[in-house]
């Protein structure tokens, strides 16, 4: 039972790293980027390629996944995302779905439709037991990395100058602009960071979630739940949302396997019923 909790935490951690970038970009530009998962997939494939073709070790492929996704994030933000900010939510949704479709088909074309795999180094394989709780080494590794990331992100968000500017911009972009905060550049940086984190999450998640060209579609709803439930004004919100989601998903499947994925969707709709306006709302008067 406790092992399951541990698994759920690991799962939630990966979801957090995957989704937190989305929540910040959504909060900052009020932009619905359904293509966020495509960046995660990109990171995953970069990691796979780095290991298979270049023969890099697993640990070295992780930063590469981050950098590649971040880089593509910067370029795309400049070229195609920027004109989208002023458009309606509907347009944004259509646009990002289009990107997802392109990413899915393009990846299929380049990489084939089969599942991709990585070989973990030996020290990350297998498991050990502490007080009767089976602990997977890899999951522990994931929790450690993601935990560190979460803490440093939280620190960066609340304690640094960048963070305070970011928070000001999320709160009210117009006022922030008036105060001389370069919101556009701030956003570009955040977008890159968020994409990069998604890429890293994608690479970390290969072992837990699998990786194939349909990844962005399969996990889109998970990211959206993280953002929806967690809100967009902090790091802690999405963090707890991701934990909740990871635990609910894993526990639900463990306890009532026949209901499968039903549980998390029901959870989401219930949350929406309870706080329909709480979504994306940032305590406006």
């Amino acid at each position: 039972m406790l092992t399951i909790l541990f698994d759920g935490i690991a799962y939630g951690m990966v979801l957090f790293v995957l989704g937190c970038g989305l929540s910040v970009t959504m909060g900052l530009m009020n932009f619905v980027n359904l293509a966020h998962g495509a960046f995660a997939m990109l990171g995953g494939y970069v990691a796979v390629l780095a290991m298979q073709r270049l023969g890099l070790p697993f640990l070295a492929s992780l930063p590469l996944a981050f950098l590649a996704a971040a880089l593509v994030g910067i370029v795309l933000e400049r070229l195609v995302y920027r004109p989208m900010y002023a458009k309606s939510h509907l347009d944004q949704v259509m646009f990002s779905i289009g990107l997802v479709f392109m990413a899915v088909a393009g990846t299929d074309w380049l990489m084939g439709s089969t599942q991709q795999f990585i070989r973990l180094p030996a020290w990350l394989q297998g498991r050990f037991e502490i007080a009767g709780i089976g602990i997977g080494r890899y999951r522990l590794f994931v929790i450690a990395i993601c935990g560190l990331l979460a803490i440093s992100l939280h620190w960066g968000f609340t304690r640094t100058r960048f963070g305070s500017r970011l928070r000001a911009a999320v709160d009210d972009a117009r006022v922030a602009r008036g105060l001389g905060i370069p919101v556009n550049r701030l956003f570009a940086v955040t977008f890159a960071l968020g994409s990069g984190l998604a890429g890293l999450g994608g690479a970390l998640g290969i072992e837990l979630m699998g990786l194939d060209p349909t990844f962005p579609l399969k996990f889109m709803i998970y990211f959206l739940i993280v953002v929806t439930v967690g809100g967009t004004s902090s790091i802690t919100g999405p963090f707890f949302a991701a934990m909740l989601l990871g635990l609910a998903d894993v526990l639900g499947k463990y306890l009532v396997p026949q209901l499968g994925a039903f549980i998390i969707y029901a959870l989401m709709v219930m949350l929406l019923i309870i706080r329909p306006h709480g979504l994306f709302a940032r305590g406006r008067a």
Binding site: T3, T114, Q115, Q125, P257, G260
Partner: protein, 391 residues
């Protein structure tokens, strides 16, 4: 005429046709409508079969029974509505004499009515739920049925000292088939079985495997669609279930040849029962595998490929028997009871059920040279689909 939908014609034997006898040239080609998932999550099935069909035409020529075979390939992306419409269009507009392909059970089932209505044989090359051939008198199968592959596993497991089994199957037709047939047979032998079903769209097996680990069975019987096997195997090992002494058994889908290298060494030691392994030790198979890999570098033929290859063979044999008469009733009559030597071993179409009768092999996943293979070590000859055999 359908200029609208330019078709991907899979003819490789154009050159061969030139050297064929004059009668064949005079007669119209026999069109085979091949409907496969070439995109989407099951695209690997489609690509294997497509490659095998092309290989058949290249190796055996396009002319059989005095008629030229012309393959029209359509992509249904694994979507049953599309399969049905494409099949219907193939029958109505392209006037195909045979429908073939069908990567998944729902896709084959959705087309059954069309086969019946149009009196066109439907050659199922992949889908493996037992009941498919009962959906229409025009359905013939050259793949396998899951009960066919699963029941021998129950016998082997019981005979090898396994008493308690936990089954994990994907929650759709084939999975349920595998679970019920295995559990039925194993329980009848005296074993005990616990079961969970995993939703088709399920990324994380951890919670299900955790249940398995707590139940401490002697063996874990698993069926998942072929692409998903790798993830399952990895988590199985990561969870330490192999070290806990739990054997991994099941029909061969989980250690699919196509992805076995990707699964890696975690697959070592899995015991599976299946009708085909690329490592099957026969001259026919060695040649088949070699030619396949020459035509498709980097791809290893799996049980889907052999199903596609034999599907073409079946059509060719039937045409030979009817002397080129491609009317549906004649063809289906000729297909019943047809037998030939396949890369997988001797096979025969059961005249009563139109399902395939074939050997089922017990295999162990091992290293052969530098590659991973499912090495066969026991053979159960001439297995009929047990579900229909009992009726």
């Amino acid at each position: 005429m359908t200029h609208r939908r330019m078709v991907l014609t899979g003819i490789l034997g154009v050159a061969l046709a030139a050297s064929a006898d004059g009668a064949a040239l005079a007669q119209e080609a026999v069109k085979i409508g091949l409907v496969l998932p070439m995109t989407g999550p099951f695209a690997s099935t489609g690509r294997q079969i497509d490659a095998a069909v092309k290989l058949f035409l290249a190796r055996e020529g396009a002319v059989h029974g005095g008629r030229k075979l012309e393959v029209i390939l359509k992509d249904d992306a694994g979507n049953a509505d599309a399969t049905r419409r494409l099949a219907q269009e193939l029958v109505v507009n392209d006037k195909v004499s045979v429908l073939a392909g069908f990567g998944l059970t729902p896709l084959a089932m959705a087309t059954a009515q069309i086969a019946t209505q149009a009196k066109v044989p439907e050659v199922v090359m992949a889908a493996a739920t037992a009941s498919i051939t009962e959906a229409s008198p025009y359905i013939v199968r050259t793949s396998f049925t899951l009960p066919q592959a699963s029941e021998p596993m129950a016998d082997w497991a019981w005979a090898n000292g396994i008493k308690k089994v936990f089954t994990v199957v994907t929650d759709y037709g084939p999975g349920i088939d595998a679970e019920t047939s295995f559990a039925g047979k194993f329980k009848a032998a005296g074993g005990s079985v616990e079961s969970v079903r995993v939703p088709l769209r399920n990324p994380d097996f951890a919670p299900f495997l955790q249940r398995v680990s707590e139940a401490k069975p002697d063996a874990l019987f698993v069926f998942v669609p072929s692409g998903v096997g790798a993830q399952f195997m990895k988590q199985f090992v990561e969870r330490g279930l192999d070290k806990a002494g739990i054997k991994l058994i099941g029909p061969g889908d989980v250690v699919d040849d196509d992805i076995l290298e990707g699964i890696g060494e975690v697959a070592l030691g899995a015991i599976t029962t299946h009708h085909y392994s690329a490592a099957h030790d026969s001259p026919a198979n060695k040649a088949f595998v070699a030619d396949f890999q020459k035509a498709n570098p980097g791809m290893r033929p799996n049980f889907m490929a052999v199903g596609g290859y034999d599907g073409m063979r079946l059509v060719a044999e039937a045409l030979k028997a009817t002397k080129g008469d491609a009317s549906g009733e004649k063809l289906i009559a000729a297909m019943k009871g047809a037998s030939w030597e396949s890369p997988r071993g001797p096979v025969r179409i059961d005249p009563e059920t139109r399902d395939i009768i074939q050997n089922v092999y017990v295999r162990k996943t091992q290293k052969v040279g530098s590659e991973l293979h499912n090495v066969e070590f026991a053979t159960i000859p001439n297995v009929k689909d047990p579900v229909k055999a009992r009726k």
